[in-house]
């Protein structure tokens, strides 16, 4: 056999990985040095080459030995990861849906704290295990044969059906879903997970091919594969399917949605952290800043780790890419900076300004998107009350007061246009001290406000699609809401008109909580929300 055939044979049998090309080159160099040494000792070049090849051995054995030395870790770890991740998340998920699941007694403050710590501990343990299993270097050393269909089939089963169902359900429920359906949320889960899966495919594929081949040819002798394969699929896929089924958007089908499951997982992380922070008197915005800074710091550390690996590769050294930091970044960067706003898709027909967004941007920049992403009726959101100067004659006409809960109060004054106005933070103490007619203490309506549906000022009217599931649910509850509510009750309002002129329209279900007119009736301040109990956005419009 000549050198070309010898190394060609090795190359075809070698598993492709970061080292395979380097190994081939070094083996060629080795053969060259061995041949040269024999020539120096007096052998002819032909004889020297033949002896060298004979001493190197069978090319197939060389490739096999190399493959064995660089093969990945036990596939059982992959099954365990899927199982453990799914099992650990079950109590977190069930608890988020039904508090009494874990604690059937009435929760007291101390119980809430304990739950918070429990949630956090479970998440940290589960998350650490997953990060450890991906960082386990032996796990990713194996080569790959890209031609086998087994791995692609597995990926297709794992990812394609939920992805297809997500978009099918999205289409079926467009405009009617009670959730702010978000394709970017899907990307946040699928892109890093798919990237991770394909990298794993490159590294560990040979093991799966071997396993599959064994199961086909030696099925009577090696029956454990018949059991292991289904368990693998079950562990990695089905548990996630079951967990996500409860939070699927209005779907006539019961197919669950993995992206929403991941969304709930992150909410549980935040829930645990908030439970620890909130009792320690940290403000809501303060808590968000701490968590966002922590996530940013961890992302920075992950970036440094990736930078180090890239630097090593640039220097021509062998490198193991830090997959755990890569995947961590894939999730945190969109979460921190690119997660879309939770603003409702409202089409304004008049000049309008989102005052609440302006306030929150000033308070949470550069983490505004992060705050918005989590500001989602899980107890970590802001709500707003609005008041006019009509309660206090000392206040200039056409001024408004906006009260953020939890948070500060603001005055909206000196209005020229919807974009040109003064928005000033009010301090309870200073206003009490400096102004006898403090707007805060004299403009707020009394607590005995009638508990009734919002009554719109004259010439305003609201329309809503009464068949919308959110409105049907609201209508069903509205009778006992009137007797139990401690504040004004919002009304469904997908279209708002003033003197038959359209103010806004939206396809998503929307509730109008309050509407105040300036004294000159030129401006209006509205509070809107996607639920009847939480006015989350304040809009200032020109009529």
């Amino acid at each position: 056999m000549n050198l070309k055939d010898f190394f060609g044979k090795i190359k075809t049998k070698l598993q492709k990985n970061d080292y395979s090309e380097r190994f081939l080159q070094e083996l060629k160099d080795h053969a060259e040095d061995a041949t040269q040494e024999k020539i120096f000792k007096g052998n002819s070049p032909k004889a020297a080459r033949a002896t060298t090849l004979k001493n190197l051995g069978d090319p197939e054995k060389i490739a096999k030995n190399y493959n064995v030395m660089t093969h990945g870790g036990s596939l059982f770890i992959m099954y365990l990861e899927g199982l453990l991740f799914g099992i650990l998340s079950i109590p977190l998920y069930l608890n988020s849906q039904n508090f009494a699941f874990l604690f059937p007694i009435e929760p007291f403050e101390i119980v809430e704290k304990i739950i918070g710590y429990l949630v956090l501990a479970l998440v940290i343990i589960g998350g650490s295990y997953i990060l450890y299993s991906f960082a386990f270097s032996r796990y990713f050393v194996a080569g790959a044969n890209r031609r086998s269909p087994y791995w692609l089939a597995y990926l297709a089963v794992l990812f394609a059906p939920p992805l297809i169902m997500y978009f099918v359900t999205l289409g079926l429920n467009w405009g009617r879903s009670p959730f702010a359906v978000n394709p970017l949320m899907t990307l946040m889960y699928f892109v890093p997970t798919l990237t991770m899966a394909f990298i794993t495919y490159q590294r560990n594929h040979q093991g799966i091919v071997t396993m599959a081949e064994r199961s086909i040819s030696k099925i009577s002798k090696n029956k454990k594969w018949i059991i292991i394969l289904p368990i693998y699929f079950l562990a990695a896929s089905l548990i996630k399917f079951l967990l996500a089924s409860e939070v699927s958007i209005n779907s006539p089908l019961t197919i669950p949605l993995i992206p929403l499951y991941v969304f709930e997982f992150f909410i549980q992380i935040l829930g645990g952290l908030f439970f620890i922070m909130a009792p320690n008197q940290l403000s809501l915005i303060g808590s968000y800043w701490i968590i966002a800074l922590l996530l940013s710091l961890l992302s920075l550390l992950a970036l440094l780790k990736i930078g180090q690996a890239y630097h090593q590769k640039y220097q021509g050294k062998a490198v193991q890419w830090p997959l755990a930091p890569l995947c961590f970044l894939g999730l945190t960067i969109p979460l921190l900076f690119f997660a879309p706003l939770r603003e409702t898709a409202i089409h304004w027909n008049v000049p309008a300004e989102n005052i609440s967004a302006r306030i929150e941007k000033a308070e949470s920049w550069p983490f505004y998107h992060f705050v918005q992403y989590n500001d989602s009726d899980h107890g970590f959101e802001f709500s707003y009350g609005i008041f006019t100067s009509s309660f206090n004659s000392a206040i200039a006409k056409n001024d408004f007061i906006i009260e953020q809960t939890p948070g500060d109060s603001f005055s909206l004054s000196n209005i020229k246009t919807v974009k040109s106005y003064d928005l000033k933070k009010l301090s309870e103490e200073s206003d009490k001290k400096n102004s006898p007619s403090s707007p805060l203490f004299q403009t707020k309506p009394a607590a005995t406000q009638p508990k009734a549906m919002l009554k719109l000022p004259n010439h305003f009217s609201c329309q809503a699609d009464e068949q919308n599931p959110a409105y049907r649910a609201f209508k069903k509850d509205s009778d006992h809401l009137a007797s139990e509510a401690t504040a004004q009750i919002a009304i469904p309002c997908q279209q708002l008109t003033y003197d038959q002129k359209l103010i806004y329209s939206t396809q998503e279900p929307l509730f109008l909580h309050n509407l105040l007119l300036s004294q000159d009736q030129k401006w209006a301040l509205l509070t809107l929300g996607q639920s009847w109990f939480n006015p989350k956005e304040v809009y200032f419009v020109e009529l």
Partner: protein
């Protein structure tokens, strides 16, 4: 003599690190020859064993490599012990000394 896999498993890394410590910078062919000479031909490493082992040690940070010109004028990848590798080698050295001391008592050999 061919040793069983189980006996060699714990020793191969130690042998490679020890050779690098003794010789400084070497490339693959030099290392295989050195292992044979230093062990009086008791240990013979296969090329398909040595190189993957070197890659593993490099990914663990125990060994560093760079491409340089060999005395023959050809470019070769030279391997050397890193500071971390030196530290690990010292620990393994102590471990191996104690291990051989214990084994000697069982073998009744005076080495």
């Amino acid at each position: 003599m061919a040793f069983s896999k189980e006996i060699m498993k714990g020793s191969t890394e130690f042998i490679v690190l020890k050779v690098l410590d003794e010789l400084g910078q070497v490339y693959g062919y030099q290392m295989i020859k050195a292992i044979e000479e230093m062990s009086s031909d008791i240990f013979k490493f296969q090329e398909s064993t040595l190189y993957p082992l070197l890659y593993r040690l490099e990914s663990k940070g125990l060994v560093e490599s760079e491409i340089r010109k060999a005395p023959s004028g050809k470019e070769r990848r030279y391997y050397a012990l890193s500071a971390k590798g030196k530290k690990i080698l010292n620990e393994k050295n102590k471990e191996m000394e104690m291990y051989l001391k214990g084994m000697k008592k069982f073998l009744h050999l005076s080495i």
